[in-house]
């Protein structure tokens, strides 16, 4: 499938390459970076990009190249964890809601709408600010604002699947509700969740960068991209301080978005026609 996708869809190929590169960097970063990302060299403050410091240095003389490389670990980690946890919560919540139906369904869906009625970034900021800025709190906030998407998709899938004949058959064979849910319904609905997760990955990275830009992510001196952009934006004359971590965010989220789009187009024939 992937091979066919790459052939048909250039953007998907680009996205895959970008993400693969970042993934590799994230894995090998601690072994290959030229400097300790936290090492301060005050004599080399604000050095512009050179052979010594490929991406220049920041206000404390830290090597930005090393910081951007190391920062990819945090961004990718945060994006993945958010999606996985949000999907887990959403699948269970939406699954129960769709499978149970009736009044329970109504109540549970109103509950998820309650969360969705707030603008994502605002709600995430409120939660972060209330819990205090830290990496874990930022993750919690992101999961809290993210899961309803998955719950809604899961619910609609479950409602669709549960009227299928094989579910009826299983029921008439005397299978328990529990068994039906896990053996019949879940495997047949999970596909869309995976697609949604892929599409969302880029957005999750963007949201996380946004939060840490606002000072609500991991506290300094963590080499986090959003935080680095925020530090760098105080110094217009030293363009490299904000540009390189910004470029990191750009390529990473763009790559993830291309993959997501590719996968969705492939699986959704209606959209594919448009192309």
């Amino acid at each position: 499938m992937i091979r066919r996708l790459i052939k048909q869809n250039r953007l998907f190929a680009i996205g895959l390459t970008l993400c693969a590169i970042w993934l590799i960097i994230a894995v090998i970063a601690p072994y290959v970076v030229p400097y300790d990302p936290l090492y301060q060299d005050l004599t080399a403050r604000f050095s512009s990009p050179s052979a010594e410091h490929w991406f220049g240095t920041d206000a404390l003389g830290r090597d930005i190249f090393s910081r951007v490389m190391t920062g990819s670990r945090i961004s990718i980690g945060a994006g993945l964890l958010t999606i996985v946890f949000a999907a887990a919560v959403g699948v269970i919540y939406g699954g129960i809601s769709g499978y149970a139906g009736g009044l329970i369904d109504e109540l549970m869906m109103r509950g998820s709408e309650l969360v969705q009625s707030f603008p994502t970034i605002i709600l995430a900021m409120v939660i972060c600010a209330a819990l205090g800025p830290s990496l874990y709190n930022a993750l919690i906030a992101m999961v809290v604002v993210w899961w309803p998407n998955y719950a809604r998709v899961m619910r609609s899938m479950v409602i669709q699947v549960k009227s299928n004949e094989y579910v009826e058959a299983s029921k008439s064979l005397g299978a328990s509700r529990f068994r039906i849910f896990f053996k019949e319904i879940l495997p047949n609905s999970i596909g869309s969740i995976v697609v949604l997760g892929t599409v969302d990955f880029g957005n999750a990275i963007l949201l996380f960068a946004g939060l840490s830009y606002l000072g609500l992510g991991s506290p300094p001196p963590t080499p986090e991209w959003g935080l680095m952009v925020s530090e760098g934006s105080d110094y217009f004359q030293h363009w490299w301080m904000a540009s390189f971590p910004g470029l990191g965010i750009l390529t990473m989220s763009m790559g993830a978005n291309f993959i997501g789009d590719g996968v969705r187009d492939f699986l959704d024939p209606k959209l594919r026609k448009e192309l």
Binding site: P221, I249, S253
Partner: protein, 548 residues
């Protein structure tokens, strides 16, 4: 597909845009995007009607222009232009001169001050200024119980034998009293006008006075200007007081615009939209060097940044150990800290700013960091393996120095002697709470003297207000605690100087504070301006500024 692509790019564009906006803001258009305001159309002196206007861009903190309440750093920039005091600083903090008073006498025991007011002074409203106004204003200042009201603590009585004489009786001699009188709590108000708008000098003024709202956008003083309008977060407009007793100031109007972001301030100055950019960070100052028509000037402040180390073992843990605190003071890389903060920085030996009477000369930082000595002390204290501690940092910029940056430098310095710190960035208003109640094990803070006299710095001593924020109680160093109380009322200059020197020497041995910096910041002006002098108390004496 195309749609999503577009969306992705839009998102990124949005993000890039957000990246350019100031970090902590009221909307970025606070100052620069008010095309219809009078400021932009008439930038320099040449306004449509030939009106001369001065425009200043600042990132201010003022909340109120009620002289009895205002206590913010930038409050007196406006208030000093609108009100007169018995004493005022002229040109610099070294020159405390008589303001509304013609002359004064101090009794032998230093406890009775007799002032003669200048004759024929009138308020902007046209009402004459009498000794009754002075008494009324002082009483209101004290009874409103604002943050600055404590400066009137020593006043026992205020009498007015005749229209031009004021006699103030103190409970104890106070060498800093004339300095205190230059503060806005003691600004002389037009009592008739203020009373009309709900002001009162009654004992319970704090509850019954209703003039604050009116005073926020109006003034009732006799200064060279009066407040014409105030739009919070946008601008304050001052207009010339035609009844002013002194020489008429050059400008007809002064507009003090709120521009939060210093980059924007500089851009506005370069575009000629403003005449003065108050908050220029060191890096921008460098880039402005040699630009024609713009002059960058130093603003030597009395603001001191320091590291607070709690003395209470329950709060501070290992940090509470005086030996560890001494080690921390030795381990700090002061030259590096000064480099980060920018040009013109000094480090006082104790929290007594250079430039005030009785302060010792600045620390010789070239020997620091003394890591070896610090490590030895850590071992002596039993923490050879180090420890981990929470480090509270308010997210703020003090005189161009980003506290987040400074805290990361300190973190790396403490690392060299095995102390791991978890930086906890907090909004200033939130962090102030735990700081004031003494709940921060390690904190990065700044202090701006309430009045430019070292008596206000005695707060750092054991048992005094700031000392107690580090839980440094009087019994931990009884000798210093005693000295703090004694030094406050020594009138004789030599004895006073000696007492302060002793205090500072003792504080180098034992104190829960590590002085980091005395701040110097930069501001930039249109170089055609004259008479722009930085006086920390007021920032600028607005009446002295002229365009020729």
């Amino acid at each position: 597909m195309k749609k999503t692509l577009l969306l992705v790019f839009l998102l990124l564009l949005l993000f890039a845009f957000a990246a350019c906006a100031p970090a902590e803001t009221t909307p970025p258009d606070g100052g620069d995007a008010t095309p219809e305001s009078e400021g932009t159309e008439g930038t320099e002196e040449a306004t449509a009607g030939g009106e001369k206007q001065l425009i200043i861009a600042v990132n201010p903190d003022y909340e109120s222009f009620d002289p009895a309440i205002a206590y913010e750093v930038y409050g007196m920039l406006v208030l000093h232009a609108c009100y007169d005091n018995l004493f005022e600083f002229q040109d610099s903090l070294e020159n405390l001169a008589l303001g509304a008073a013609e002359s004064y006498e101090v009794s032998e025991d230093g406890m009775t001050y007799t002032f003669k007011l200048k004759e024929g002074m009138v308020f902007a409203s046209g009402n004459p200024m009498t000794s009754a106004d002075v008494k009324w204003s002082f009483e209101r200042g004290i009874n409103m119980k604002g943050n600055g009201a404590f400066m009137g603590d020593g006043i026992v009585s205020i009498e007015t034998p005749d229209d031009l004489t004021v006699v103030i009786q103190l409970s104890a001699p106070d060498p800093s009293f004339p300095t205190k009188l230059s503060y806005n709590v003691f600004s002389i108000m037009d009592s008739a006008l203020a009373t009309e708008h709900g002001a009162t000098n009654a004992e319970n003024a704090a509850e019954v006075d209703t003039a604050k709202t009116w005073l926020d956008s109006n003034s009732a003083g006799s200064g060279p200007y009066y407040i014409e309008s105030y739009t919070p977060k946008v601008e304050v407009v001052l207009a010339r007081n035609e009844n002013y007793y002194g020489e008429a100031p050059y400008y007809d109007k002064i507009s003090i615009k709120t521009v939060v972001d210093s980059n924007t301030q500089v851009m506005m100055l370069q575009a000629g939209d403003v005449d003065i950019a108050m908050n220029v960070d060191p890096e921008q100052a460098k880039s402005l060097e040699g630009v024609e028509g713009i002059e960058v000037k130093d603003a030597q402040s009395l603001t001191v940044s320091f590291l607070l180390m709690n003395r209470d073992p329950e709060v501070g843990g290992p940090v509470a150990d005086p030996t560890v605190q001494k080690a921390i003071r030795l381990a700090l890389d002061y030259p590096g800290i000064q480099t980060i903060a920018g040009p013109g920085m000094v480090t006082p030996v104790a929290p007594f700013p250079i430039g005030l009477f009785g302060s010792l000369p600045a620390m010789d930082v070239s020997e620091y960091p003394k890591t070896e000595e610090a490590l030895a002390l850590m071992e002596e204290a039993g923490y050879a393996d180090g420890f981990t501690v929470d480090f509270y940092v308010p997210t703020t910029i003090v005189a161009g120095v980003d506290f987040s940056l400074l805290s990361q430098k300190i973190q790396s310095d403490l690392n060299t002697i095995g102390i791991q710190t978890n930086i906890i960035p907090e909004d200033v208003t939130i962090s102030l709470e735990t700081y004031r109640t003494g709940k921060q094990p390690l904190g990065l803070w700044y202090w701006n003297p309430d009045y430019p006299d070292n008596n206000s710095q005695l707060a750092f001593l054991p048992g005094q207000s700031v000392g107690l924020r580090a839980n440094w109680t009087a019994d931990m160093n009884p000798e210093l605690a005693e000295l703090a109380i004694e030094a406050a009322s020594i009138v004789d200059e030599d004895a006073r100087e000696e007492a302060f020197a002793t205090i500072q020497e003792m504080m180098q041995e034992d104190t829960p504070f590590a002085c980091l910096l005395q701040h110097t910041s930069q501001y930039a002006i249109d170089s055609s301006l004259q008479g722009v002098e930085y006086i920390d108390r007021y920032k600028f004496d607005l009446k002295a500024i002229s365009g020729e």
